[in-house]
């Protein structure tokens, strides 16, 4: 199952649960809680998947080379992110990708704010050690 399937499943779950929905937390937290649980369910069932297909041969123009370097850099960051343990990755993606606060992340992951702080700290330490050779743009 891919990101698109998970996104679709999330919307359908929200639709099915709509009559029972009570706005006790923000809708965004509710949405990410459903996504988080779906991802955990899928991870339990899924098999490891192959990361990349062989890329097309790039053209030799300078712009294309720059573009390729930029793309490679992004891929390296993405791979470093994917190598993080699931809970650290979830916390860091919710923080950086979605801009959630520690309290919201704690609610989504059903844990404490202290745990979230620790997960984010460890995730950043690992990412820094793995990506220290890259220059910041």
């Amino acid at each position: 199952m891919e990101a698109e399937d998970i996104a679709q499943e999330t919307f359908l779950k929200i639709l099915k649960a709509a009559p029972r929905y009570r706005p006790t937390a923000s809708f965004r937290t509710y949405l990410y809680t459903i996504i988080h649980r779906l991802c955990l369910d899928i991870r339990k069932k899924s098999h490891p998947y192959l990361m990349d297909t062989i890329p097309d041969r790039p053209s030799a123009s300078p712009a294309a080379v720059d573009n390729l370097v930029f793309k490679e850099r992004k891929e390296e960051i993405r791979r470093a992110l994917e190598r993080l343990p699931l809970n650290q990755r979830t916390a860091i993606v919710l923080k950086h990708g979605e801009g959630l606060s520690y309290a919201e992340i704690a609610q989504v992951m059903d844990t404490s704010m202290k745990s979230v702080e620790m997960l984010i700290r460890r995730a950043r330490e690992k990412l820094h050690s793995r990506l220290s050779h890259l220059k910041t743009s």
Partner: protein
């Protein structure tokens, strides 16, 4: 404030999760400690890496797929809703009336129901009677042509039809 404690809370500080005196103490410490400042810069570097990642693009047909699946779920509910909405409307209409008016409305509805049933039964019976009469005349619906002139097409047809109906035709 000691470096160990500052480094322990530095991520929360960088994410603006700290408030009050702790926030100020860390800020003051960073002004005077080069090592902790470097650790803070490292956090900002990692943030820079993560911010350079793009979100995955949503395929153009995604919304259509979701809506198609959503309709499958929503439609049975919508039918139920319209059924209950009709009852809801009737109840709401009745609840807005005084008790004698409610009784009168209910009586009228029940009388109209029985009147409708009786009338439909009468129509059905008279329809059956007419059909029997038509059969007796020879051909259903064609009794209107009975005063047709002899040797006309209608007259011949009426003779043939009545013969078939009584089983008296011979070829």
């Amino acid at each position: 404030m000691r470096c160990k404690k500052v480094l322990f809370r530095l991520n929360a500080y960088a994410d603006h999760e700290l408030t009050g005196s702790l926030n100020r103490r860390i800020e003051n410490h960073l002004h005077g400690c080069r090592m902790c400042r470097m650790a803070f810069e490292q956090i900002r570097h990692v943030e820079g890496f993560l911010n350079s990642l793009d979100n995955l693009p949503v395929p153009p047909e995604f919304a259509d797929h979701v809506m198609m699946e959503a309709r499958k779920i929503a439609l049975p509910g919508a039918e139920k809703k319209s059924f209950f909405a009709w009852h809801g409307f009737l109840l709401q209409w009745l609840s807005g009336m005084s008790i004698p008016a409610r009784l009168a409305a209910c009586t009228t509805i029940i009388l109209a129901f029985f009147l409708g049933m009786t009338m439909s039964r009468e129509i059905s019976l008279s329809g059956n009677h007419r059909t029997a009469a038509s059969r007796e005349a020879g051909m259903e619906g064609f009794e209107w042509f009975s005063p047709s002139p002899p040797e006309s097409l209608e007259h011949t047809y009426m003779i043939l039809a009545s013969s078939f109906d009584t089983g008296g035709v011979s070829r």
